[in-house]
């Protein structure tokens, strides 16, 4: 009876704790502050399990504390307590109660396992995105639309996004915490998942699987925009590339940068696509353009990429035979290269 009183007092506290948790952390990053139906579903399951488990913990703690206070040995106590062999009723009770709790958790688990595995890859209404994970950057190819971008995934708010996840090198894991749980990219295997982004905004994405030196810095952004805006972005991406105005710089940019990178239809595919890079939230996923200007960040990055991301494949400006003036001009050009959408 006594114990139930304790429980009655603790339950509201626990409920409060769960509510507190669910408003916790950055909107664009925290799993506890979901911004899409997938993450919401997952948070519901998390709350259910936290609730059940908090109950278990409270019961165990209560018994534990009671026992420790009630049955401590007084000094000089030589009495021998009754040697109890066990109690079948009690043992059956604490076998059955956990089973019941597990059923309560197990049913929605199975439900969601299948619900979240729904395949939208043939759905004409879904946006098909092929995600390729590279050491240490992300490539996003819109297979139906024929466009490719990197580091900043642009999605419309009104559609399901169906992802095809592959890796170009080692194992990575694609994760946008506030939108939905992660899925690994395995070399040689294609994984699928879907996400929805009902709210406009920029959400932080991370690589969750140790993938080498700069695993910690393999961030990306997912930017959800209105359907109209998305349509404008698609046509801007398809428009002819804007090249540097200065012919000399354009020539240098083509020979030194576009051997790996691409803008619009020009260039290669070995490195992040730069189309509209000036409008992105970050350079390299980690240099935020609201902390320093995009031009400054690009300048820093081009001068010495390894200083910001050890193990990045891009050569330093010096090794790429770019003079400081050329670096400055190219940074300026890229910073000004924004898409209107």
């Amino acid at each position: 009876m006594n114990r139930w009183h304790v429980m009655k007092r603790l339950l509201p506290l626990l409920t409060g704790l769960v509510l507190l948790l669910s408003a916790c952390g950055r909107e664009d990053l925290s799993t506890l502050n979901p911004q899409g139906p997938v993450a919401e579903k997952q948070l519901d399951l998390m709350k259910l399990s936290i609730g059940i488990m908090a109950l278990v913990v409270v019961v165990v703690f209560a018994i534990c504390i009671y026992v420790l206070i009630r049955f401590r040995r007084r000094a000089g106590d030589k009495t021998i307590p009754k040697q109890v062999e066990g109690n079948h009723t009690l043992e059956i009770i604490w076998t059955v109660i956990p089973l019941v709790l597990l059923v309560i958790l197990g049913v929605p688990t199975i439900n969601d396992v299948f619900g979240l595995a729904k395949d939208y890859s043939k759905d004409k209404n879904a946006v098909q995105v092929k995600v390729t994970a590279h050491q240490y950057w992300w490539e996003f190819e819109y297979t139906d639309l024929g466009i490719t971008t990197a580091q900043e995934l642009i999605v419309p708010t009104d559609k399901v996004i169906s992802f095809e996840l592959v890796s170009a090198d080692v194992k990575h894991s694609f994760w946008i915490p506030s939108i939905g749980g992660k899925m690994d990219t395995n070399p040689g295997v294609t994984n699928r998942m879907f996400l929805e982004f009902p709210k406009e905004g920029v959400f932080r994405g991370k690589c969750a699987e140790l993938c080498g030196t700069s695993h910690a810095l393999m961030d990306f952004k997912a930017k959800a925009v209105s359907p109209e805006s998305f349509a404008r972005w698609v046509s801007a991406m398809k428009a002819p590339a804007v090249m540097p105005a200065d012919a000399e710089i354009a020539e240098k940019f083509t020979s030194q940068c576009l051997s790996c990178h691409a803008v619009g239809e020009n260039g290669g595919s070995g490195a992040p696509n730069l189309t509209g890079i000036g409008g992105r939230q970050t350079v390299g996923g980690i240099l935020y353009n609201d902390e320093a200007t995009a031009e400054q960040n690009l300048h820093d990055w081009i001068t010495d990429p390894q200083k910001y991301k050890v193990g990045a494949a891009m050569p330093k400006a010096l090794d790429n035979s770019l003079t400081p003036e050329e670096v400055a001009s190219i940074s300026k050009y890229l910073a000004e290269y924004k898409l209107d959408y």
Binding site: R26, K41, M53, V67, F71, L102, D169, L210, I286
Partner: protein, 601 residues
């Protein structure tokens, strides 16, 4: 010299203890460096490469070179005594097991001096750990070091299975075994079934790395996911190899210091067996995000959750062992009691992780880091500390200082919760694990600082423990046979430390808690099951040491592509095996008139 050739289980136990503590300190130092690096955002105490090396070596060292050897130390020191045996079934193999573990661990840690340290995580997922993405010798040290150390573990597992099956004193039936012996029996079975999987995986990875095989090379038809399966088919039972002995220790300590027999003994045994069995069925819960599909994820979710049931049975049985008891708060018991709520917290987060769709969020975040440290540190390390304080007088004949012991407990306990509780929230707020740094302003900064402060407390606790050992060393060996006065099993019937032959006369066991039963009937000694007679002992041997050095040399030879050196190393080992086979050694006898003088560890 005596220590290099010994085949006595008690001395081998002490060797395991020293080596295990040594590696525990190395692993702990690595942990402190990790926490210092993560103390604040964009810190640069260590580089990203060094950080990845630190996390890899911290995990590998703690699991294979600290936790397991410390468990082997306790099982060597205690099991033969608890079952009334004079030694383990295969004393020579026991010694070989220690030396292969030691040289395997040494080889692994020499990588710090070679400058190429394993850095692909303790799980060594390929292709990151494959020849293309880890081109130095780092991962070779991991593969070969663990392979050699693994031989020792497997030998230990076989040895203790054979010992517990065959060498129990008369009357000691399986359902009268002390719970710690049961736990070690089940652990040994787990080792025997799980370690071969690791061996196979390591051999395949070694072939990929040294001889350009393609087991895991996707480009040539291999599969990286295959490595994950092999690794976790070993790796999940490994978790139970670690925690089941701790269950055993807790059962002994809680029961002794509450002066009560273990509540629900048979359900404890059954629960442990069930946990071990289910432990083999759930490896894929480490791979919910690998993309195995909903059917696999669903099945492994439910199977994993089921483990909570027998674990819960154990927890409540411990609580009801304490219930109505006369509880004495020694350091050993503090650790055991601290274990119960802490392990429950680790256990419930385990059930949370088992729910696959929620795990899509938790997986590879600090939530997981918090969870498994609650289980492995809050469960296993608390268990080991409880066991070391509990059996120290039996092993060394000296009582550890209780005041320092309590300082150890409180600093370690508070530091532990400070370090790891908060990491649950870091994970939920979106911090991935294995990151060498993080950007500021993401809401991680304060929690990481608190976590680092906690780690320092744990460090202080460990130092206090070492201090305790040194202070105790200076004291006389005056521990009583039944050092805690409330001992229940056979190890408390013989002097502390026990004589070389353990039992002058093998005792007759007349019931569960054999020694307690005799005491309650007013007896002061066990009834012997045999007359005093000549005791047959195995001879000491230097061969296990030389064989292990041979493997150690061979490891280096193969790693650095000097096949001749590799061959010489293998020849040394094989040569020792030939010598061992050809020379008949019948051991020696201790005659009754010499039996009274030989009281030594």
């Amino acid at each position: 010299m005596d220590w290099l050739t010994t085949v006595d289980h008690k001395k081998i136990g002490i060797l395991y203890l020293i080596a295990g503590l040594f590696f525990f300190l190395i692993g702990g130092l690595e942990a402190i460096l990790i926490r210092v690096q993560l103390m604040k955002p964009m810190n640069d105490v260590v580089s990203s490469d060094t950080f990845n090396e630190l996390i890899t070596m911290h995990g590998t060292t703690m699991i294979f070179l600290a936790a397991m050897p410390l468990l082997f130390a306790l099982m060597n020191a205690v099991i033969p005594l608890q079952i009334g045996a004079r030694d383990v079934a295969f004393p020579f193999l026991n010694s070989l097991g220690f030396w292969t573990f030691f040289f395997g661990g040494l080889l692994l840690n020499l990588s710090w001096f070679a400058g190429t340290v394993p850095d692909a995580g303790w799980t060594s997922y390929v292709p990151l750990a494959g020849p293309n993405y880890s081109s130095g010798h780092g991962v070779d040290y991991y593969v070969i070091g663990l392979q050699i150390a693994g031989i020792g573990t497997l030998l230990g597992g076989i040895n203790f299975m054979a010992t517990i099956i065959n060498m129990r004193a008369p009357g000691l039936s399986f359902m009268r075994l002390p719970m710690f012996t049961w736990a070690i029996f089940i652990t040994s079975a787990l080792i025997v079934f799980a370690f071969p999987a690791l061996t196979v995986g390591l051999v395949a990875l070694m072939f990929d790395r040294l001889f350009q095989a393609n087991f895991f090379e996707v480009g040539n038809g291999g599969s990286g996911v295959l490595w994950e399966h092999i690794f976790w088919v070993f790796g999940h039972p490994e978790v139970y190899i670690l925690i089941v002995p701790a269950f055993g220790i807790i059962s002994e300590v809680v029961s002794t210091f509450s002066r009560k027999r273990l509540f629900g003994y048979s359900s404890m045994v059954f629960a442990t067996v069930l946990i071990a069995f289910l432990g083999f069925m759930v490896w894929a819960h480490h791979m919910f995000t690998t993309g195995l599909g909903p059917v696999a994820n669903g099945l492994f979710s439910i199977a994993t959750m089921l483990i909570a049931v027998p674990t819960g049975v154990k927890i409540f049985n411990w609580l009801f062992t304490l219930w109505g008891g006369s509880i004495k708060f020694t350091t050993a018991n503090l650790f055991a009691i601290g274990f119960i709520p802490t392990f429950v917290m680790g256990g419930v987060t385990g059930v949370m992780l088992a729910s696959a769709p929620a795990d899509y969020q938790y997986h590879d975040t600090y939530f997981v880091v918090a969870h498994f440290h609650y289980v492995i540190v809050g469960g296993l390390i608390f268990g080991i500390f409880a066991g070391m304080h509990y059996w120290w007088p039996k092993m060394f004949g000296r009582m550890l200082n209780e005041t320092i012991g309590k300082i150890t407990f409180w600093t370690f306990f508070i530091g532990f919760h400070l370090t790891f509780f908060i990491q649950h929230f870091l994970g939920l707020l979106g911090m991935p694990r294995r990151v060498y740094t993080y950007l500021g302003g993401q809401g991680y900064d304060d929690m990481n600082l608190i976590s680092t402060i906690g780690a320092f407390f744990m460090g202080i606790g460990t130092i206090a423990f070492l201090l305790n050992i040194f202070i105790t060393w200076a004291k006389p060996r005056n521990a009583a046979a039944d050092a805690w006065e409330d001992g229940r099993s056979l190890e408390w019937t013989i002097p502390s430390p026990p004589p070389e032959y353990n039992f002058k006369q093998v005792p007759l066991v007349r019931g569960y808690d054999a020694w307690w039963k005799e005491k309650m009937e007013g007896k002061t000694a066990m009834t012997p099951s045999e007359p005093v007679g000549s005791i047959h002992m195995p001879s000491p041997s230097i061969l296990p040491l030389i064989m292990s050095i041979g493997l150690f040399i061979a490891g280096f030879g193969f790693m650095y592509d000097r096949l001749i050196i590799g061959g010489i190393g293998l020849a040394i080992t094989l040569g020792c095996m030939v010598v061992r086979s050809l020379i008949d050694d019948h051991g020696f006898h201790i005659e009754p008139e010499d039996q009274d003088e030989g009281v030594k560890a």
